[in-house]
């Protein structure tokens, strides 16, 4: 069964540093997303991406965040200057059209110290 692959599985970074989280969505999917989940809390939407541009973003997704699909297979989330409150599990997801659910990756656990 096709999978969404995320790397790294765990990233520890110092406050103020830049991090890039990487994702390989399912190859024939057209819609890509990033979500995050702070420990013990709900899964929260960050951003959706379609046709090489952001289609929607949440209030969380401020100027410190950016997304890119650099080469037609990878989908990245960059946090420019990490804060302690950015510590969370970040999930990449992709979807096609139709009556199907979204496929999520296993996540990257980001710890900002």
């Amino acid at each position: 069964e096709p999978e969404v692959t995320q790397t790294p599985s765990h990233q520890v970074t110092q406050m103020g540093q830049e991090v890039i989280l990487r994702c390989v969505p399912i190859s024939n999917h057209l819609y890509f997303y990033w979500y995050r989940q702070i420990l013990g809390q709900k899964v929260e939407f960050l951003v959706s991406f379609y046709n090489n541009e952001i289609s929607e973003k949440s209030e969380i997704f401020d100027d410190q965040f950016s997304v890119e699909r650099p080469d037609g297979s990878n989908f990245t989330l960059k946090i420019r200057s990490t804060k302690l409150e950015d510590s969370a599990m970040y999930f990449c997801a992709s979807s096609g059209q139709g009556n199907y659910g979204y496929t999520f990756g296993s996540g990257t656990r980001l710890t900002v110290v």
Partner: protein, 114 residues
């Protein structure tokens, strides 16, 4: 803003019984509602999707109902097994197609005892 509520208390049931989980929502009329399973430290895994014009959907031991008047979805697992123990998430899809932002509930943890 949209609000989705699931029973925050864990649901403990005996193996072989039917588990019923509830999802209530306010301030929105979603075109689609999805159910996911999440295991600790893992990403959500899609289980079932139901459209606003469907009352019920089934897949093996799973059944979802969708009552747009009550603004409620029920998720049933029949003949439950210990392997069904996990957190189950309800999610609404914003927009008219099944490609928009997902808004998740906080999830209900199910524990199936042998």
């Amino acid at each position: 803003s949209q609000k989705i509520e699931q029973n925050s208390e864990a649901l403990n049931i005996q193996e072989g019984k039917t588990a019923t989980l509830t999802c209530n929502y306010t301030n929105y009329s979603p075109a689609y509602l999805q159910w996911y399973r999440q295991d600790p430290g893992r990403g959500p895994v899609f289980l079932l999707l139901i459209r606003e014009n469907e009352k019920e959907k089934r897949k093996e031991r799973l059944k979802v109902t969708f009552d747009t008047t009550l603004k409620q979805s029920l998720f049933h697992i029949t003949a439950s097994q210990p392997a069904d123990s996990a957190t189950y998430l309800c999610a609404l899809v914003r927009g008219s197609s099944n490609t928009g932002k997902l808004i998740f509930g906080q999830g209900t943890t199910l524990q199936v005892k042998p």
